[in-house]
């Protein structure tokens, strides 16, 4: 099993451009999450999904959008990229609400906005 797979691993964007970070998991987990990690800061939740067709905002959702059309995939869309979105983005999944603390993370997508 591959676990949680994120693409791309690295990307440089210009201010105002848009892009989608891809995330796929093969563990049949219902719950999926997007976190961002900034230097010297704890991971912050951007969006999460409790199943196909159901998404909700986390702590820092502004400037992002998500969709969840299948159990496996949870893409994160950045619209009108800004330097403040320079960060490392991690997709994660968990089996259930009870096991929300047992997150399986991808290897991250490093995004730089210039």
């Amino acid at each position: 099993n591959a676990g949680v797979t994120q693409t791309p691993k690295f990307r440089i964007l210009k201010i105002g451009q848009s892009m989608t970070l891809q995330c796929a998991q093969d563990m049949n987990h219902n719950y999926m999450y997007w976190y961002r990690q900034d230097p010297g800061m704890g991971l912050k939740l951007i969006y999460y999904s409790v199943g196909a067709g159901i998404t909700d905002k986390g702590e820092v959702p502004n400037g992002y959008n998500v969709s969840r059309s299948t159990t496996e995939d949870f893409p994160l869309r950045l619209e009108l990229a800004a330097p403040s979105q320079t960060s490392v983005y991690f997709c994660a999944s968990s089996y259930s609400w009870e096991r929300t603390g047992e997150l399986f993370f991808g290897e991250g997508s490093r995004l730089t906005v210039l």
Binding site: G42, L43, G101
Partner: protein, 114 residues
């Protein structure tokens, strides 16, 4: 006062030493407590997951939770160079919309010197 405080280190110890990593928190509603290990340029991976107060042991790792003091610890016995990583504490609520989100500390960078 930040919700979760964690000394960022860096912490450098000789191989075989006992390592103590700590976090304090302010929200008494946190019920679940986790420790994640993150190697450089990788995603976090779950080490320990505890509920409420008490100790939990897994091999060379022991997690302690003291809810009365709002203080959690991770002990690593017989530390190895392969333990060199950043250690993130995390915690979550037991109920409500916020229970889908983990609140992370900033992480402590540990180096174990051979």
């Amino acid at each position: 006062q930040k919700e979760v405080e964690q000394d960022p280190g860096p912490l450098s110890v000789p191989e075989g030493a006992i390592v103590s990593l700590n976090c304090t928190y302010s929200n008494s509603a946190f019920q679940y407590f986790m420790w994640y290990r993150q190697y450089s340029r990788k995603g976090p991976e779950l080490l320990m997951y505890t509920y409420s107060s008490g100790n939990k042991e897994d091999g060379r790792f022991t997690a302690q939770v003291d809810k009365s003091s709002k203080y959690i610890s991770l002990f690593i016995r017989d530390s190895q160079p392969s333990d060199s990583a950043t250690y993130l504490c995390a915690m979550r609520l037991n109920s409500g919309a916020g229970s889908y989100q983990l609140t992370f500390g900033k992480g402590t960078k540990l180096s174990v010197i051979p």
